[in-house]
Symmetry: none
Subunit: 189 residues, 4 copies
């Protein structure tokens, strides 16, 4: 029994290493990153990559979901260690980081490949509750204004934080900062 588990844990470690490696390569070179490079970074042979992710879309999906999970998972952790408003701010930073990584996946996600159809739903299903819990807590503490819609907020930040035209003076993230500040300073509005 334990012997079987040992084999599985090896395989599991490989899968995790592959997803982590793919995440890095996707962020740097887009989703067309060479399979060999991904396998090398993960410390496995290409065959192992193909065993676990026969289609490239399988790997893209795994990375995306892994990212969403990690981002959503950060919410309760932050809520447990920071005051409500700080937790919210910290999580929004975390979320914008995630969006930065996701940029590489963009083209693939909109490629029309049916394999990716479920991803937007997955995105919303996991991140909306995560943000909502933080918003509610901050509202309850009177630290931010009330009535903020989690879904709209999620999209608004997504749009603001992925500038197409690089403003040398630093547009995008500053606007996110502004948005966050706005939330806090209008707590009594």
């Amino acid at each position: 029994m334990s012997a079987q588990r040992a084999l599985r844990s090896d395989a599991k470690r490989n899968v995790e290493a592959l997803v982590e490696s793919a995440r890095t390569h996707f962020a740097e070179s887009g989703v067309d990153a060479p399979a060999r490079a991904i396998a090398d970074t993960a410390g496995v042979g290409v065959g192992t990559l193909y065993r676990h992710f026969p289609q490239r879309s399988d790997l893209v999906i795994a990375v995306f979901q892994h990212e969403v999970d990690a981002c959503a998972g950060a919410a309760p952790e932050l809520a447990a260690t920071l005051p409500p408003a700080d937790a919210l701010v910290a999580w929004l930073r975390r979320y914008t980081d995630f969006l930065g990584t996701k940029k590489g996946l963009g083209k693939a996600l909109h490629s029309g490949d049916p394999a990716f159809e479920a991803l937007p739903e997955y995105f919303l299903a996991n991140l909306r509750p995560a943000l909502e819990s933080l918003l509610v807590a901050a509202e309850a503490a009177g630290e931010i204004r009330s009535g903020v819609n989690a879904k709209d907020f999620l999209y608004a930040i997504a749009n603001l934080s992925v500038p197409v035209v690089d403003d040398a003076s630093g547009g995008g993230n500053d606007m996110v900062g502004l948005l966050i500040d706005g939330l806090r300073h209008t707590a009594r509005s």
Copy 2:
């Protein structure tokens, strides 16, 4: 002499065909579109492509500048044929179309390749005056609110019109429409 001129005009025609072909392919398949495909669509051999654009970045830059020129050039044309506010709206639509095409170039532009460093400046140097002239005319006519900063507006629309996360309810472009409507309806603010 005339033979040389004929040759030059041939070459010029080839260059134009190549830029136009590249524009189409970049928009459809990104900047990694096969050189052969670009050459074929342009009706020339690949050798000709490489003669005029030894580096792929040369072609990317040419396409980008061509697009910026075309977009900027539309401003006076529209100003000449439409009432100020309509000209402004029409040009903003033209600008969002340009942004859509430019999406494909995004990754290349942010690749860190020094060849692309000058492009943001080129973008601003050409489009800001174009927008400014339209804004000034519309303001002068009392058709829109005053005090709109051309540069900020350019960036804001860029960010709004290229949604990373597809909001099923439409988000991005609707916000652009909203922005434009806002300009007009607050003319007297």
Copy 3:
């Protein structure tokens, strides 16, 4: 002790399943059929295949001998249940079936690999006596002509039944039928 026997019978079952599976795959896809497919069809892991047949040639030989054995073994069975001439005809059909399967092995057998050197001898050592017994019985019963050489007959049918050039009018097998008919109808020659 009984545990060991049980183990052995398991192993034996695996070997048989592998040979049977290999026979099928060889017939369909040639001797280069994927090891994984053979193992899967046999219901075992690839490791088991390699344990019992370290070299591919080991498996090819096993299949060939298995086929020869089965074909040779059919002779006494048929002789016991059919009149001599019918048994002969039935066995010849069985033999041509075998030849059909063997086609897939052909290239391997003639590859010059020393592992296969003994196979022609095995072929003859088993099938000649099988055919001879049937011929003798039929001759003795006066149902076929006498003086037919078993070895020559074996080869003649082999050559006739594996047409290289497809005659649309059906050459090969019809000629085998003709040969058999000839045997019977010239019983008194």
Copy 4:
């Protein structure tokens, strides 16, 4: 004009080298011979192989037709330099050599790939007239028996000369020899 021809002649030389190389490799290793090996032997890059023969079947067909052409083309040459019966015999030897090479193509030809459908017809359309001309001449000279059907003879030799079971005592080709001898010695039958 001549410049263009020069380029074409290079390309033509490459095509010929590729067909010749493929013929050799197909004969030795079957039609699955590595593309790289074929290209190397031909002294060209793999890309050149794929330029001229995008599909493997294209190459197989080219080799087959090249072989048929060469074999058919040998008939008039032999007829011009040898007495009718000798020319016939010499050509039949040439034909059996061709059949030997063709063995490697066999599996591909019967694979059901529609690309190969036209080949049997090509085979017959070229080789039947070649053989017929030689038979007629030999008959006219009274050197062989008359009434031999070229198509049947073509198939008969094909079947006889490609033994599936290697007769150590040399079956196949001897039977062809016998057949030929039979033709000659029954000239007056």
